[in-house]
Each structure stands twice: as structure tokens, then as C-alpha cells.
Symmetry: D3
Subunit: 136 residues, 6 copies
Amino acid sequence: MLFVTRRAVFSAAHRLYNPELTDEENEAIFDKCNSYNGHGHNYVLEVVVAGEVNPKTGYVIDLKKLKKIIRENVIKKVDHKHLNLDVDFLKGIIPSAENIAIGIWNQLIDKIDEGKLFSVKLYETENNYVEYRGDK
Amino acid sequence: MLFVTRRAVFSAAHRLYNPELTDEENEAIFDKCNSYNGHGHNYVLEVVVAGEVNPKTGYVIDLKKLKKIIRENVIKKVDHKHLNLDVDFLKGIIPSAENIAIGIWNQLIDKIDEGKLFSVKLYETENNYVEYRGDK
Amino acid sequence: MLFVTRRAVFSAAHRLYNPELTDEENEAIFDKCNSYNGHGHNYVLEVVVAGEVNPKTGYVIDLKKLKKIIRENVIKKVDHKHLNLDVDFLKGIIPSAENIAIGIWNQLIDKIDEGKLFSVKLYETENNYVEYRGDK
Amino acid sequence: MLFVTRRAVFSAAHRLYNPELTDEENEAIFDKCNSYNGHGHNYVLEVVVAGEVNPKTGYVIDLKKLKKIIRENVIKKVDHKHLNLDVDFLKGIIPSAENIAIGIWNQLIDKIDEGKLFSVKLYETENNYVEYRGDK
Amino acid sequence: MLFVTRRAVFSAAHRLYNPELTDEENEAIFDKCNSYNGHGHNYVLEVVVAGEVNPKTGYVIDLKKLKKIIRENVIKKVDHKHLNLDVDFLKGIIPSAENIAIGIWNQLIDKIDEGKLFSVKLYETENNYVEYRGDK
Amino acid sequence: MLFVTRRAVFSAAHRLYNPELTDEENEAIFDKCNSYNGHGHNYVLEVVVAGEVNPKTGYVIDLKKLKKIIRENVIKKVDHKHLNLDVDFLKGIIPSAENIAIGIWNQLIDKIDEGKLFSVKLYETENNYVEYRGDK
């Protein structure tokens, strides 16, 4: 079994906020991340595909193709955007790194047609990252 | 001559927009960076102080002190903030990396009392950074 | 299943030395790492917690809380210390990266109360790192 | 269970090309990577060994020994070489990152005598890497 | 004075070889870098432009424009190429990092029309880089 | 003018302590860095040599030679050592990053015979580094 990883970067704003909670509760839970006008990050995304090597190409999946799939289905929708306001697949979701990673997984799961989506890693800062491997 | 550098990181949102221009001009100049709801970055700041070594301490400037100066005068004001809306020292200024670096220089120039502020470097993404060395 | 990682850094001295072996044996096994007065590293620690997303917060575990748990139970005890001499949880143990990682795991295992401690990674240099996932 | 990783770097040229395909097919599949005179990379290799801690040393495997095994069996054969032309263990193989990782695994699998080879990771660029964990 | 830096990456093969020297002399001087079939690197290029901030844009130079200038005049000519054989502006030149940096400077010097080209930095490996600031 | 940089890494222990001060003064000035049994770092050293390109080689200075000069005159003396106790050229000096950089400069200044030593940069942690350019 081989795992192939493609990295991409996007810059986005977000605000952590649960509309079902009071302002005080939001402040208590999300602290600085609840700042009213939002803040932002350079998110680093790693998409891992697992599979066998195709003997014709030496590839599990052509990384040029994977790059394009990631660009069309994720980067174009989140790069230089506000994750709470501008992104259809995150509407109504608290845009924590965890929820963004799950959202990205769902964007990609049906688009990978060589190998199989194995993992989505998302670095929010140099000190924080999350990994989602699907819900099976 | 010795140069001592302290690095700090902050996460902020911004939007590039010149209110004296039309929407079309802003769009043409700032493109993705003009996205209406803003986007964001993990900014990496490097503050360089030049000076002589103090023989009592072996330091040009005590980096614990420099860290505190940077935190009080810069990081507290910009971290987890929206640079267009929340930051007094950037009010009315297009928050390009260049202008943020100049703003940070102005916040720090009178606070460094050992050695002399030499340079402010600001990384906006892994591909873009600016350096300001004052206007002399 | 989601994996959430928090990174922290500490600077410490150590000496690799097994008191049950002769000086010659220690020298033969540990070589440079056996240098009598010790040497040191900037250790990079990554703590991985696995769990489900809490729908109220979007978090597996609040990273501010995880940061505090790591600081109180690990960083305060090892940062700017000599690992052979100053650290209670490493007393009598050869402070190899492997053993430090196991020691850190044991410091944290009972303190994580959201999600479950999954892995402790410890980078000793840019070329060497270890990962411990518990003994089950 | 502990995982110990040793990192090494090598600089090599290669060309992606399948001799059983026409020039047009090669061009269509491999694009820039099919450039006639080859191109190159600084490959970053990570070799992961899994095992128990030896109580005498605190090591899963002595990293000085692992470093030497990697140097003798891999680095000496690929560093500053052309992977299509100069490397015996890649003869007749399309030198994609996937196939190089498998080739390196096969070079190492019988040489690791403390712990067990667990994984070979190979970074081709800062955006692409593969991992091979054997074929069991 | 402000300095604005744009980073770009390219992957290329090269061979260090002076045709005016004997094989023995080439071997003695260039050692591994003289390997007959060439080797390669992921080169990291940083282009530094110095200038004043344009008050209309907040930019010294629009980095989207600088990115395009670098892509058209440098990256397209060297990425996935063999520097000895495929690159017009390096014909007849020993492609050491020094000479590549000078060649890139000459490609860019007349194309930068906002601010002034200040420096070209070229990282050949993580341990080696050069900087050229023109010949004045 | 060209600047050529070679990077090297060493792991060492140190303690910041001025024997002419009282324990209380040392504690007040050096804080954590004054910890009695010492602590340590993975120091990253960058040595910058300035000069003209030698047309015979394409080099300012052969980096293999520079690497050897750095290894013989610096790395062998400081790697896996205690900087207060084991290093002749730091005897009687407070081993702050500043003073170590000056010490390294003095070790190298007479050994560089192609080009001219321009700068010694020393990274103590990912957040702190110093640069020394000699005392002219």
C-alpha cells in the first residue's frame, strides 16, 4: 500500500462562534478566536490518497490531476475568502480546523478516481493541526 | 556590530481596498485580496535590533525584554484581529504587508532602549515577505 | 475519527549514559551523546489527541486547554532543564528520545479529559524523531 | 510500540518516461516531468523503524547505526546521480516517487536488524511526498 | 526604503563541469557534482525588489505582477529542465549556484518597472545558498 | 559582489551566568537560562563568505572546502559539548548567542582563503537568532 500526499495552501478569514450560545458563552469558549470582526490564517492542506502503483505510469494517482481536483473543489472556494460568510460547503458550521477538514473531505471524497482518499490534514498555525480519515 | 532578531507570530484578517478608488479599480488592482468579507494570514514578524554586546550580560538586548516589548506594542494589538477594523495604528491605511511593517516599526521605534531598531521583517505567506529599515 | 495535534518546544540538556555499564561501554554505545558535561537540543513535541467533534464547539479538545495541560505537566518540568538531573519523571532513566517520549506520554495520559491521547512525537534534531502510541 | 525516524537528503536527476509508450503518450502522461534531458530534486527521505526500547541503551535502534545503513544502502547509490541511468536498483523502473520509495524499501528491508522497517517516506518537492509501508 | 521579496521554486538537473579542464581536473574540483549523467535540485529562488510604497496601492510592486515577471522570464525557462543543456541564458556557463543567480539577475533586471531589483537569492540545498546584488 | 552561505548544525548545552555577579543578580538577569545544571539547543550556524566568482570553477569558494573549514574549526569543538566547560575558544565568556557568534567569527576569520568572511549567523531557537559581521 502506498500513500501519496499533495500539499496546497490557502489564506482565509474566520470567526469561531456558535449562534446557539450567548455572547458570554462564545467569549468563554472561543476567547480570542471569537473576535467580532474575524481573524485569519494561512491554512496548509495535505490530501493523502492511498492505492497501488499503476505500472503504466508509476503513479498511484497523477499528482497534476490531484492538484487540479484540489484546486477546483477546495482552493477556489476557500482561498482569500471568509470561511463563515463566503463558502457554501461551510454554511452553518463552526469553522474550526476540525470542521473545515471534514468539509474538505466531503468535497473531495467523490472526486478522487484513482486510489482512494485516505486522509485530510489541515494546519491552522505552525502549532496546531488536525487530521480527518473519514467516518468508517 | 551585532544584529539580534526576535520572531513572533500573529493571525489576522485584512482586506486590500483603497476607499478613494472605484470598486472596479479596487478589483483590478487588488484582485483576490479585495474579496469583500476579507481573508487572513498567519503573519510572521521578525524584529531586528542592532548594537554592541553588553559585557555584563553578553546581550545586545535581553530577548525576554524584547519579546515583551513586541507583545505589548504589536502582538496584543493585531493578533486575532481584523487589521482594517480593529487596529488603531493601521486606521485609514491600506493594510498591505508594506504598510503593516511600517506601522509596526513606528510602534516599536521609541520602545527599544538597548541597541537600536534596525529592521522589521514581515512574512505574509511562505512566498511573500517585506522588510522595512526606517526612512533615514 | 479526528486527530488533533498541538506542538510545543523546549530546550534542554542531557547526557546518554547507562550507570550499569563501564565507561568504555558507554563510550562505545553512546559515542558523542555520552560527552561528560552533557549537550542539548531544542526538542519539538507534538501531542496528538483522537476523538469526535463536539458539536457545541467544533472542537475535539479545546487547544487552549491542551496547550495548558502540556505546559503544566511537561514544558514547565523540562524546559531550560538538564533532563538527567532536574526532571522528576525521568529520574533513573536513560534520557534517549524514546524514553523521554514515553515519560511525556505518562505525564499526559491521565490529564486529557476530552478525546483520548493517541500519540506523542518528539523531534530531537531535524534528522531524528520518535513517536510513541502507548503500550496497548 | 515506538517508531523511530531518521531523515536523510539526496540530490538526484530523473526523467519520467515509459519506454513502452509513444513519445506522444509519454508527453501526455508525464508532461514537464518527461523533459528530454531530465530535471532533478532534493529528495528528503525518512526511514521509520518500529520496535521496543532496549533497556540497556534506551534505543529502539541506534540512530548512528541506522544512519550508516541508510548511507551505505541508499544515499551512496542515489546522491548526485541520475536515477534512470546510474542506479542499479532502479534499472528498468519508471523513477516516480512511488517507485523510488519501493526501491529504497527493498534496499533496506534486510539490513535493519534492531526493530523492524515500518515505513519509507520520500518528499520529492515541498508539495509532494509518498509513503510506502511494504506489501503485507 | 522597503524591500519586497517574492519566492519561487523550480526543479532542475545540472552537472558542474568546465570543458576547458581535463576529466581529472573536473573530478578533482567538482567531485560528486561532476557526476557524468547529472544530478538535480529543488532550487528556491527569492527575488528582492527595493523601493518606496505607492500610496495608491500600498505596494512597492504588485506581487502578482512580480510573480508573473519571474514566471515568464525565469521559471518557464528553468523548471523541469537540464540547466547545462536546455537553458539559453546559461549556455556556455558552468551552472554553479553563483552563476545561475547572476543569470537570473540578468533575466530580470530590465523587466522590473516598479521599484528596483535589489537582490537574487538562490538556495540549492537546505545547506547552501547564494545571493547576488548586481555588479555596481 | 556575491554572498555564499553554508549552513551547519550543532547540539550543545550551556548556562548563562556571570561569575562576577551574585546568584540573585544572575537569576534576575538570566532567569530560566541561568538554570544551575544547564540546558541546551540545536544551534543552526550560517557562515557567509563574500567575493567574486572564480571563472575556472564558477565558485566564490568551493563549498566542500568551506564545509570542511567549518567542521574542523567550529563543529568539532562545539557539537555535543557543554559550551561553558568544554570549548577552549569560549573559556571565560558568557555563552550568549551573541558571544558564541563572535567566538565562531574569530575561529573562522583567518581560515577563509577564497573570498572574505562576511557574516556569522547563529539561530539559538526558532524565535531567536543573531548575526555578527566583524568589528570594522
